[in-house]
Symmetry: none
Subunit: 154 residues, 2 copies
DNA sequence: CACAATTACCCACTTATCCCCACAATGAGA
DNA sequence: TCTCATTGTGGGGATAAGTGGGTAATTGTG
């Protein structure tokens, strides 16, 4: 599982060098096959090892072609999913369209999220981080928690 | 399974060159036999490998000839289904009637959707993409999700 | 049967992608 | 502090992909 966050740089060709600490694992466990797609709710990209992504595809497959909401989900996630194979320098090439979606500039933040990574523009990430912490503190004890969070123990 | 999206161009003869990354698979696995038909809900075409299309035909076969809605579905999908065999340059010829239905101009977007591709006019695809993302973000947490989506985890 | 229109094949050109190498930056160990 | 090893970054050039158009073959129609 992936965790932690890393600052990286996107070079002029749109390539991203993955942190050295993940390389061996991504190569041996997943043959360096990665899938990158957009996030639906935040201005960032999602980077999955292929095997993990295929789990998502299984779920997407069972959604209805006639329910507009489910179809939209399929179209957005699948339509933007791009194969990104690691090159021999352990870099992946992010297509221009995806870079644009997440507003990626040169400074990138790669965030480990269990079965995937999130790819943020560094500035957007910082802003979001501050906003999230603020909101979490502001609403402490005041807002109705979801059922799952009711029983969440750290 | 197919995923990802590609910008392609329709030439003056109405031919579409399929992305190189799929060619080998479409040839070896499906002998280059494709079926193209219209989509019922969006201004785009659907492109199936023949073997995958035959699965759809099985389902269509089991629909009632007396239920108007089901009959309509049969008529639209089957009536517009066209054989499109890949030529030796891995191109398919899209009939004028289908091109017209999807409003295809020169710039095309081919979108992988598991067992099929969607074929969009690039401008229409962009517009739809923006609209979908907007809607997805706008309704976050506010709209009732379908049962399947309630527990959808990325 | 002949003609026209459409379709398939082939070749050539332009553009983009991938592979490789080189250098810069960083950190560890002697 | 110097040296070496590893990681991060940049870019040139080979190769393949995408595209356009000429010509031959096939189909359909009068």
């Amino acid at each position: 599982m992936f965790r932690g966050s890393f600052t990286l740089t996107l070079d002029e060709k749109g390539r991203l060098a993955l942190p050295a600490r993940y390389r061996e694992r991504l190569l041996s466990e997943y043959q360096g096959q990665m899938i990158c797609t957009i996030d639906l709710h935040d201005p960032c990209l999602l980077l999955f090892p292929l095997a993990e992504w295929e789990e998502i595809e299984k779920k997407l497959k069972s959604l209805s072609s006639f329910n507009p909401q489910e179809r939209r989900l399929q179209r957005l996630l699948l339509g933007n999913a791009t194969d990104c194979e690691m090159d021999k320098s352990s870099r992946i090439l992010l297509p221009a369209s995806l870079r644009q979606h997440a507003g990626l500039s040169k400074n990138i933040r790669l965030v480990g999220q269990l079965n995937k990574f999130e790819i943020w523009d560094e500035a957007a990430w910082q802003a979001r981080l501050c906003a999230d912490i603020e909101q979490e503190q502001a609403q402490a004890g005041t807002v109705q928690l979801s059922e799952r969070l009711q029983d969440f123990v750290l």
